[in-house]
Assembly symmetry: C2
DNA sequence: TTCTGCATTTGACTTGGATCAACGCGGAGT
DNA sequence: ACTCCGCGTTGATCCAAGTCAAATGCAGAA
């Protein structure tokens, strides 16, 4: 159920945050100002849906805070998490920009806030501001790349390798050096993480147990990695 | 090995064909004329590469004739076909447009011809012609959608279901009615098709044998389907 | 036509990961 | 405090699909 969540104008803090989106990297200040003028921010409670698979977008959604699981939700089948969207990410920008139905549902895994740019204002801005329209294109290109990347991961690697990749990427995102020991924090609960990695929670648990003898210790969401390069090697680069 | 294939200006026939690309759906004639003026067409022999994974694009490639397998090609691992590109398709447009390294290799599965639009002229044209820049965005959005679609197929369905989907889509593409009996032709050889569907040739063969008792008869590349709706149902819509 | 080499099929076996079934543990409600 | 319940872990078993191996069919060369 998409809850009738309250909408409000973005706070000054929100505006500063939104201004820094990659979406606006090459956009003029005037463009951004115009867009923010009509971009209400809604609060989405834990486990509520910001987007339902199959619905047609009428605005581009940007995550201001919190975290969403982008997942399949076909009746009868158990849902599968395809990707996560966190602060600063756009929610399926390609669907919004081309006004085609969303292929996935976005569920808030924790209480989240989301800004919503009406498509009309977006298109108008893109028409006026070439930098911004280039930003739009760049964002979608990035989304394509990461989708293809996932497809490759899924076709080329085993479940434990995908978990290893996940850890290596978390370490990189946390600014850890690429060699030696590292500590990272898992962002998601076991069930969500397992589904994101294309495995069952049971199997993720077993993988974690196996990884202990590989120098990877997981306690709750805290992970200690003895040899990051070795882990990357196991993951297949 | 990317062979030094001969490049030539597009023929009148090529130009007509290229004009009809979705890429130019909303582009002005002047834009298209400019682009075609600097778009050499090369011939790529069977099993030669038009694009190597990891290389950075310097032009946008459009398939004028023939067919390419977009596949992984990591040393040591056996290649996996992620998608096919045929006449009228762009080859990994998102990579070209954003000038980021290609994530996949493009191998000609048959002798093919490919037009090549230099990025500089492309960007200049997009800056001048908003219709064209919208076309570019739309193409990339479509590519994202199909990548996500594949990800869903791969996560949600079994190998036989993916084969069934493939048949249903071929039937739809061939303009067959959505119900009753249908005849379609497989486009690819068994090995390529199996890899595209994320299975081994052996398993595809077995799947085909199983499908006989489901009213699907495959002889070489010719397929007879007794009940298309039933097949679609089996595939999971 | 016959030969030769590759593509496809069929068969036997292995295996990664899913499923089913307990069990332990920690936090919220009483 | 105690109970309940949802989360995560562990164990046992099953199954879809991969691997290895061999037979068959088919197309182009001689």
């Amino acid at each position: 159920m998409t809850e009738p969540s309250l909408e409000q104008a973005p706070s000054a803090e929100d505006r500063r945050r939104l201004r820094r989106l990659p979406l606006f990297a090459n956009a003029g200040d005037a463009t951004v100002h115009d867009l923010l003028a009509f971009a209400p921010v809604s609060t989405i409670g834990r486990n509520q849906f910001a987007v339902r698979e199959g619905t047609t977008p009428n605005s581009l959604l940007a995550v201001v805070g919190g975290r969403f699981a982008l997942m399949t939700q076909t009746a009868g089948e158990q849902p599968q998490v395809i990707a996560m969207a966190g602060r600063g990410d756009l929610v399926m920008a390609a669907s919004a920009i081309s006004a085609t139905p969303y292929p996935l549902t976005a569920r808030a895994v924790e209480e989240s806030r989301i800004a919503s740019f009406p498509l009309a204002t977006l298109w108008a801005a893109a028409d006026r501001d070439h930098g911004f329209s280039a930003d739009l294109a760049r964002v979608v290109c990035g989304d394509w790349r990461s989708a293809i990347g996932q497809l490759k991961d899924y076709r080329l690697r085993s479940a434990p390798q995908r978990f290893a990749i996940h850890l290596v990427r978390l370490a990189a995102a946390a600014g850890q050096p690429h060699q030696g020991a590292a500590e990272v924090a898992l962002i998601d609960d076991r069930k969500t993480l397992a589904s994101l990695l294309g495995m069952t929670p049971e199997n993720l648990s077993r993988t974690i147990a196996q990884f202990r003898e590989r120098g990877v210790t997981v306690t709750g969401r805290a992970v200690t990695i003895a040899d990051l390069a070795g882990l990357a090697d196991f993951a297949g680069l």
